[in-house]
């Protein structure tokens, strides 16, 4: 993979000065793992449910109308990213949100998502469909 045989514009047109990432690659990898775990509607719904308090697997299964197995799998993913924690309570295992942090993330995402009804790319050609206050038209 990766040939990079075409770095034409980078080298000539604007003499690239950009290379250092603002953060470590590892940190980004972990962050993406986190996002991936939350990047599933069903799993995110579980987080939303748990935001109201702890719940056991079968309870969540009943609410979500899914099998216990499926819910368990979803929770496993969330747990692997430390989004939820579990604790045994008698016969059940109660899951809870790992911390408030998690909800902040979800709410931030929803704030962004609700800004606009989300478009499918390819609708407009190139000219920005949004009237920006900065019509800077620089030309070579």
């Amino acid at each position: 993979m990766s040939s990079a045989s075409q770095l034409a514009c980078a080298a000539r047109d604007h003499a690239s000065a950009r290379r250092a990432l603002p953060v470590s690659r590892e940190a980004l990898d972990r962050a993406s793992d986190l996002f991936r775990a939350m990047g599933d509607t069903a799993r995110l719904r579980l987080l939303a449910l748990l935001s109201q308090g702890p719940a056991c697997v079968s309870e969540l299964a009943a609410i979500e109308n899914e099998t216990v197995s499926t819910i368990s799998q979803r929770l496993r993913v969330l747990r692997s990213e430390r989004l939820v924690t579990r604790r045994r309570d008698g016969k059940h295992i109660n899951y809870s949100l790992a911390d408030q942090h998690v909800l902040d993330l979800v709410f931030s995402a929803m704030a962004h998502a609700s800004e606009l009804p989300a478009q499918t790319p390819g609708a407009a050609s190139i000219p920005e469909p949004e009237p920006e206050p900065e019509p800077e038209k620089e030309q070579s």
Copy 2:
């Protein structure tokens, strides 16, 4: 799919009182789309690069050591979630972050991710591996 034939514990043991979600299902769907878009290391790296300023596709391809096609695909996904915007500048198309919002999300995720080195679930049995300040040991 979904049988829900086993809501045993929900109905009996703790007489479920939880059902309303704190947010609309739609909002969660959109948020999960957003997270999914960011849930890929390569795409997240692009966001990190763009946080330093706009860049064109071939420039990003050179930095990432990938084909232009691949980068273009990744940007397409990011654009579909309005995480980046594009603007034609002469021969190139410059991509930028859609807004600061996006970076907040990334940084929050990294903050969460860097709290601990991330475990693989299944390591410890059930008893919480973290010494919590709330050792409430309730027992039936």
